[in-house]
Symmetry: C2
Subunit: 176 residues, 2 copies
DNA sequence: GGTATTGAGTTTCATTATGCAACTGACTAT
DNA sequence: ATAGTCAGTTGCATAATGAAACTCAATACC
């Protein structure tokens, strides 16, 4: 397998996939969000092999999404809790939820619902543009290099068709 | 490996992971979103093995996220395009982007930016509650069974600690 | 006409990760 | 003294991956 690490890729998606692009890690984070924190509970709820659970937990702790918390001294026992980064990863899971609900369950028959801890009101995640607060339609997007895009990476620039086409309409003299 | 399919799990996250819980599928969808549609282009951009690219494309077409489009008759040649479902999956990718940008790149140095096709304005994805339009804080959420949750699945109900605790505060007579 | 190139895949094979089951070690409850 | 809980390890068969070479079919070059 050799797992092809994307940790050096200049793409936020690829970077995230290093820790979230797998079957178990998101599910472990989900359980944590639902209030599961101990080894055997993860194992039972997920049906994951104990060996790979060990590995996944180590990875998630190593990546800073979970923290190990000693909850008992006598035989040392640890719980796993979400860090701030872990909670941010959970936000990605909400994306999975919305997608899954729409495409795999009849509408109105969603298996799980989310509520606000303060108000108790149901929470329905929606992806919007931060500025206009309007829902995002991926079909109406195009991508371009940002400030952190490596100048050197000429090959990958090929992808940003639309960006450069539009740019050259604005500055027709500069031919990239 | 035996890939443990979650297709029957009563969880939207698990269901989504069947097709998105992998390193390549999200990246293929990303490329598609950036305007890449042909076999050799995927292979070059992603550095993915041609054999597994074949399998992934088949899976994505089979799952209905991509559609094969004949673009040349003589030697039959196909392009892969996002379906509506595929574009919805792309919405999940935006979640990955936000996460990756925040945790793996200095702020203001995001490698890739998104723009609106109509207005040309930059688009910044943000997860909000559909009703209140306020940003979602995963720390302030708790989960409970929805209308589609299988009554039979008593084991998994254990997870919804907070939900049942709160419920019994409201209806203290009914002890679940 | 013969050779090279492109596009889209297969095939083969060594390397890794996974799932399963059994085992260890430290303690606790009966 | 025996059974049970919790958190892992260890060992092994099996399945997925990555890399490179190979197959077709057709067009482009000379």
């Amino acid at each position: 397998m050799e797992k092809t690490s994307f940790s050096s890729s200049p793409c936020s998606i690829a970077r995230s996939l290093d820790v979230l692009g797998d079957w178990w890690n998101p599910l472990i984070i989900r359980e944590c969000l639902y209030g599961v924190h101990r080894f055997d509970e993860y194992q039972k709820h997920l049906g994951i092999g104990r060996n790979i659970l060990t590995r996944r937990l180590k990875q998630l702790v190593g990546e800073g999404l979970l923290e190990r918390r000693l909850y008992q001294e006598k035989p040392q026992r640890y719980e796993y809790h979400l860090t701030e980064k872990g909670y941010d990863a959970a936000r990605v899971l909400l994306g999975f939820m919305s997608f899954g609900e729409k495409w795999y369950f009849d509408s109105g028959k969603d298996p799980i619902r989310l509520y606000d801890r303060d108000s108790g009101a149901q929470v329905v995640p929606l992806l919007v543009d931060a500025a206009t607060k309007k829902p995002i339609d991926p079909q109406k997007l195009y991508a371009g290099p940002g400030p952190g895009f490596p100048e050197s990476d000429v090959v990958r620039r090929e992808r940003f068709d639309e960006f450069f086409r539009r740019k050259s309409e604005v500055e027709p003299n500069k031919t990239t």
